[in-house]
């Protein structure tokens, strides 16, 4: 009798797929298949070859892929992470396209020589990204909260960066002496700028998601 556990361990040498429990389970399946073929009257060698076909070639790759897919593509990935990444990628692609088209952000001057740049064209396009993220999440069965999270992904990334900068700024201002640039002032300033950016991007993204929500409901009602 072949040692099926050993064969499975050798053939499906992928972390996660070849956990001891999965190995034993798949080995059990192969053992049952092999014995069923023997009972049908096949010679041991033919039965072995036929059983092995289940974990060889394309079937082996497919088995490994399906196990990995089940592990990786969780509900969170499908409903939040992937739609969120789509929103982020679209927002970045639009920023890049506007930059390539030489559409410059509008510079607004404040008192005391202070100014800030407002990427008006990009902000006007962001609702499309928010709507796309929310729609993809909706199609994957995402709840309202998950749809909001998916559409706010670019803002959340900015928020995370902001948080990290705050932490870094705090640490630097406490432990590093001043080397000519006042980190204690510059970093919180940068953080405030990023907070502004995060809020500024969140508004059009939410607006887009809101429009998508209304349109989807209308469409669902019509379809019923």
């Amino acid at each position: 009798m072949p040692d099926w556990e050993q064969i499975v361990r050798k053939n499906l040498r992928v972390p996660g797929v070849c956990s001891p429990e999965v190995t034993e389970e798949i080995a059990g399946h192969l053992e049952d298949s092999y014995e069923a073929l023997l009972r049908e009257g096949l010679p041991a060698e033919v039965a072995f070859q036929r059983t092995m076909r289940q974990i060889e070639g394309r079937r082996k790759s497919w088995l490994v892929l399906r196990f990995l897919q089940e592990d990786i593509v969780t509900d969170f990935t499908r409903k939040v992470a992937l739609p969120g990444l789509l929103t982020f990628a679209m927002a970045m692609a639009m920023a890049w396209a506007l930059n390539m088209a030489h559409v410059q952000p509008k510079t607004i001057f404040l008192a005391n020589g202070l100014f800030f740049s407002l990427p008006i064209a990009w902000l006007c396009l962001l609702p499309v990204c928010g709507a796309a993220g929310a729609l993809v999440s909706h199609r994957s069965g995402g709840s309202r909260l998950q749809r909001i999270a998916a559409c706010l992904f670019p803002s959340m990334i900015m928020g995370t960066v902001l948080f990290l900068i705050f932490v870094a700024g705090f640490a630097i201002s406490r432990f590093v002496p001043d080397y000519g640039w006042n980190w204690a002032v510059a970093l919180p300033g940068l953080a405030l700028w990023l907070a502004g950016q995060a809020i500024l991007t969140a508004i059009p993204l939410l607006l887009g998601a809101g429009v998508a929500e209304v349109r989807t409901r209308k469409f669902d009602r019509l379809a019923q």
Partner: protein, 112 residues
Amino acid sequence: MAAVNAQIKRGSAELAVLTLLAERPLHGYEIAKQIEAQTGGVLRFDMASLYPMLHRFERKNWLKADWQTLPNGRRRRCYRLTAAGRKQIAPLRAEWRAFFQALQRVTGFQNA
């Protein structure tokens, strides 16, 4: 017997497996063989379709798996339906019934 398109098979697998396990606990090989036998070979689940799905159901708490020792001393992982899994069967059946009725109306098939 004609093989069923992979997409249709994937969609119907959930209902087939849950319905089968509603009768009694089974291990993976038995599930595959019973589905094959009961459908006259039309629905066949290889390991790549079956085990990742069973593990997904287990994560969703629709199934509970226990190792059982068979009379020949070998261990098999037996799956049994949980209360949460049992609750999934009725809506899935309703969904498939609605699908078949709609298909029947369009195509004129009887016993679609």
